[in-house]
Symmetry: C2
Subunit: 288 residues, 2 copies
DNA sequence: CGTAACTTTGATAGCATTCAAAGAAGGTGG
DNA sequence: CCACCTTCTTTGAATGCTATCAAAGTTACG
């Protein structure tokens, strides 16, 4: 009960997150602050040239930008959580990512000239508005900015590569495990607990992101929980055995595997399993 | 027989591709040529400053760069076809893309500082070696370069977004259809036939890229062929009904779809189908 | 000409979806 | 403050799509 109240409070106010500069202003941020937000591995600090960027506030459920809107600025999340949703021609929607503090929105919108997905706040958010031409101009005078811009693009490319691996090579169970580990990692980077956190999104949104159905997400979470690897209470997740979760990622050999590893895990698994075969026995499989 | 010989010849020599500058040199290219290669929608021509970039030749099966190698340069494909292969910790490999003329290799390698995938030539290739620092420096003096670099990153991000949609929302059948339409589009952009082309990759490589098994690729191609939408002769594919292929993409409503479209296609499909239910009846489904 | 790589096709099994329904949580208005 | 409604979540049973296993056919190549 009490824990839940604390969690919900944290969800709305982002209390407990470190790195929140004391001299910050909710209406605008200065350049060094913006760069610190972007740079995961802070190198040399940037001189404060007095340049500031405005901060936009987005309430839960509101959209920061819609697919098709003219591309005007990158948005750098300072606090809160969002979801990026792409709507295909048929009307089916797909969640592409869950941006949080430090993440950049709009990088794929530069070339087409319009945003390619909706950005919808999952809770109360503060995002820094970074007009692209402005930051590009600054990059000519302020050293370090140009490189940071390129690495930001490159980092986002690497992230999408991981998503492609997740969607193309992992089973539903492994996708959920990977999702939990990813959230754990990102929360840890924010100074929050690595082993216990509150998800901001529904099962359906998780499923859309992972390319599986919401029922499958629910079932898999239940299975992981009954195997003792995690605990789930509504949106609150606690990781009890992260290494075991990681080992799930290393099981699947879904589509193409090389010509090595003749271990034939499928058969050994089946013979090793003493439990009788039954439908939806994901928990038994995980426990084995 | 004769047709096959011609196709194979084209595959190896890239004969018939337009846009091959007459004054080109296989050992190096000048800046304007490089920019034309990158810019799909050529804007203002760039002054020839005399800067040149070396061209590297890669023979079929050779690797241009390996995952883990220090990132030194971007590679811009001038001719030939390659595959990008990512090897995960377990040893499973996944094909990430099939670069061809105009495509850029290495964009996601900047931030980690090393290549994140192997680049393997599927046939004889010529790639322009573009050291990143060199092009970044040039961008400060030559107008247009900076913007082109950013749009190149952004374009690659958009491409990966399409792959994510393919892997996350489409059925195996739709993935194959999307793959064929994509290849058609890219060949057309090169001045080759939009409706008939020779695939350079195996069924296994296609399957790895699409997140399905090689048998499924083969079955789906056979089904599309017997439905009359395409013709398949080994690696040579002819599209007979591209609109029908496109309509396959608009069928699936795999993971999350909004709350609209209450058309309940699944039931109507089943009732409309007069053929008896049988396994592997993909052809019947497509024909319907 | 024989071997290796690739492709096709069939039969079977398994995992994820679909369909269905009940339970829990959160918000609203009386 | 509680009833009511909507949204979200969980769980079950059955179907279906794709993977797996297997084998034959084809092509390429030495």
């Amino acid at each position: 009960m009490q824990a839940k109240l604390i969690s919900l409070h944290a969800a709305n106010s982002n209390a407990g997150i470190r790195n929140v500069d004391s001299n910050c202003n909710w209406a605008s941020v200065r350049l060094p602050e913006l760069m610190a937000l972007l740079d995961t591995h802070p190198s040399e600090p940037v001189a404060d040239t007095g340049v500031t960027f405005s901060v936009r506030r987005v309430k839960p459920g509101e959209t920061l930008c819609r697919a098709g809107d003219a591309f005007e600025a990158l948005y750098v999340v300072r606090s809160g959580f969002l979801k990026m949703v792409s709507l295909d021609p048929v009307g089916n929607e797909q969640v592409l990512s869950f941006p949080m503090r430090g993440d950049v929105i709009g990088l794929s919108s530069l070339e087409p000239g319009h945003y390619t997905a909706d950005a919808i706040a999952l809770d109360s958010c503060h995002v820094v508005v970074v007009p692209f031409d402005r930051i590009a101009n600054l990059s000519r005078s302020v050293p370090g900015i140009e490189r940071l811009l390129y690495t930001t693009f490159s980092r986002e490319l690497a992230r999408r590569q991981r998503v492609i691996r997740l969607l193309g090579m992992l089973s539903a169970e492994a996708r959920v495990a990977a999702f939990l580990l990813d959230m754990s990692e990102r929360f840890a980077r924010l100074g929050c607990s690595r082993s216990s956190f509150v998800l901001r999104m529904t099962r359906e949104e998780i499923g859309s992101y992972l390319g599986i159905k919401l029922e499958t997400v629910s079932r898999t979470l239940s299975a992981l929980a009954s195997a003792g690897l995690i605990a789930v209470d509504r949106r609150e997740v606690t990781l009890h055995d992260a290494p075991a979760l990681r080992s799930i990622l290393e099981q699947r050999t879904e589509p193409g595997w090389g010509r090595r590893q003749r271990q034939r895990r499928a058969s050994t698994d089946r013979s090793a399993s003493t439990a009788p075969v039954r439908p939806q026995a994901a928990a038994a499989r995980i426990a084995a």
